[in-house]
Symmetry: C2
Subunit: 405 residues, 2 copies
């Protein structure tokens, strides 16, 4: 399997077209690209994973309804700068208007068009500017403008870079490509956060199988990153498969299915890592492994408590190898941890051996925690449960950045 | 009922003696008062509420064992600067040594002496200095030195002020006093945090009734504050009642029992408020009320999610009336909230009316959130569940302060 990062975007998969234009969603006249469309002329099967927040933005509810009812999809329209969340009945109308405008201009049915919005909560969408933007974006697609990079830019909010990758594998029937782009930054937590990710492939497979593949991949990747513990109202991962490669993916061809699953997971994992590396004002990337828990759920609870503890995160920021705060956070997960059984490592350097601090290694701990990227491994020695998380430190700049919007 | 703040300390209740001395727990030779003793010549009934963290410091385990077995108590010894947590079998030996040293010097039994430690996790206690300190503190008590304020200082870590109060009420049998002192600061969360609180009274009541009273009061006060969501390994609230007033508190005299309960709650509430007001690098104090939840547990979950959201806390710090982040945090509590039913108020100013933002009030919202102290009231309009929490903002200075110890 071949794998590439920082590619042109979703246009890398055959038969997908993209556009990204400026329509001034934010009302700042700054020329920022803020509306994008992905389009496949051939009908696609579709799949989606959405925020589990009780408060779901209008486009999330709309996307869930499309997947529940529809079977063929052609396009996704995305705006940044406004989340269309907590926007009441008008927000739902606006989402439907975005879908039907795209459909009208591309001669599709409204129920074949997904909508995503990301940005500030609680503001009405500037619909006349968005409608004009949709017209411009469709024009670009019809003119054959190469909009792969424009689409990547259109979905960004506080991200500092675009995020894309491509997995490619060969079959006897031809080459399959799985391309992905994403945006992340703040509000990044379990079960999605203000994150949007779009995966497209030219493989040919039914929606249900695409959904199963995406769900497994999401659980292992996007749901295993956390920056600030805040889960957003808009998180969405959408996948489209247009069959352009003429390669069938099905349970009847297990080798191809396995390759396809791997390709989707690699794309999701790469996007998740890019997202967390570009987290708001993050200075360090920490790979956290908790194993030896009574079960996987317990391991995850311990891992999330550690990863989201302010005291742990600030100590990472300060390059302080403060294992006491890690143990404390593990303890208040209340899954029955026993300090006298714990083994802890910073990278490969032992910190705790069955609850005994190996203080002779202290200088080495400090070296590890001073790095930009390191791993922390906590073995609870209680059972077989395990969880891996990717997380970050917490900087003063994060507080400064988020103190007002 | 009379109520006083910033009093001399636990010596305000009749028959209690205190000392606070410097014994250099931190090894910094800075003269800081870091070891304190409370002593009652008359035997006391006792009660305690402790951290629910799986990882409990040695003195917490020791205190729980004393209460389970013992019936008469005389003293509490406390050191700051070292938590004696995650300190293995040696930590347990050190705690017992502290109790037996106090007992020996004051001619008590070791099982009549509680021990509390607060400070850094995972360092061995400097026992020779602590033993010398116990000798000095006992000497002060025997010399009749007025150590009420010294004890208050001895228990502080990153606190910037001492915290004490006194409730006093009359009965036909005489006056009852309930005095309390506490320390708080970082790691302040539900179910106790690196917080220690000591309540003493000259009322006469059995341990079980004192325990019931303390438990109710703690639930309503100390367990309703949160600064950073980190629950410590050492949190302890201890109560002693020495009967010096000759006023009996029992279920046979419901008026006196009610007054006593009120007095204890007032003392705990006052100490909790002082604790949170002196939270590490806090600039604002927020009273959060969530009502209309399906039940009290759901209300508490929503309230804690709001109070511990980094994005909500940083917006308060920045005086940004960002109701979207509050709604988002309520949503990921996943108790089934419905945005279209929510009513939200900053102080008395309406923000959301059944999911509709009252943007005409925007300037007034900003005025409220710019204040040093304000309330936020979220009515979910779903049921009768309710929860009040006291919480704080999150400042850049908090991150800076905690980035290393």
């Amino acid at each position: 399997m071949k794998f590439y990062e920082n590619v042109d975007g979703l246009t890398e998969a055959s038969g997908f077209f993209c556009a990204g234009i400026h329509c001034d969603v934010r009302g700042k006249r700054d020329g920022r690209i803020d509306l994008g469309i992905v389009y496949s002329k051939r009908p696609c099967s579709g799949a989606g994973v959405f925020t589990t927040n009780d408060v779901k933005a209008a486009p999330v509810l709309h996307g869930q309804a499309l997947l529940a009812e529809g079977s063929e999809f052609h396009a996704i329209v995305v705006n940044s700068g406004n989340a269309n969340a907590c926007s009441g009945p008008q927000g739902e109308v606006d989402t439907r208007t975005m879908a039907s405008e795209v459909a009208r201009q591309l001669r599709l049915k409204a129920e074949q068009v997904f909508v995503c919005s990301t940005g500030r909560i609680g503001e009405p969408l500037p619909m006349s500017r968005i409608t004009a933007g949709i017209r411009d974006a469709v024009q670009d697609i019809e003119d054959g403008v190469d909009g792969g990079m424009g689409f990547q830019q259109a979905i960004l909010t506080s991200d500092t870079t675009t995020k894309s990758c491509l997995a490619e594998f060969e079959t006897t029937d031809g080459t399959v490509r799985v391309a992905g782009v994403a945006k992340g930054s703040g509000m990044i937590e379990p079960n999605m956060a203000t994150m949007l990710a779009f995966i497209v492939t030219d493989a040919c497979l039914p929606s249900q199988l695409l959904q199963d593949t995406l769900k497994i991949a999401t659980e292992k990747t996007f749901n295993r990153i956390t920056i600030d513990g805040d889960m957003s109202t808009n998180d969405t991962v959408l996948a489209l498969a247009n069959g352009f490669s003429n390669v069938n993916v099905s349970e009847k061809t297990p080798d191809i299915l396995a390759d396809f699953q791997t390709a989707v997971e690699k794309v999701c994992a790469c996007l998740a890592r890019k997202m967390i590396g570009d987290g708001e004002k993050v200075t360090k990337l920490i790979e956290l492994v908790v194993n030896g828990a009574p079960n996987d759920a317990a391991a995850e609870k311990v891992a999330r408590n550690i990863a989201n503890s302010l005291l742990v995160k600030t100590s990472w920021y300060g390059s302080d190898p403060n294992w006491g705060r890690i143990v404390d956070a593990a303890g208040y997960a209340k899954v029955g941890v026993d300090f006298s059984k714990m083994e802890l490592f910073y990278n490969e350097i032992p910190v705790l051996d069955k609850g005994k601090a190996l203080t002779r290694n202290k200088d080495k701990w400090k070296e590890v925690v001073a790095e930009k990227q390191f791993s922390i491994h906590l073995d609870l020695n209680l059972g077989q449960g395990e969880c891996n998380l990717l997380t970050t430190d917490l900087s003063e700049a994060y507080v400064d950045f988020n103190k007002s919007e």
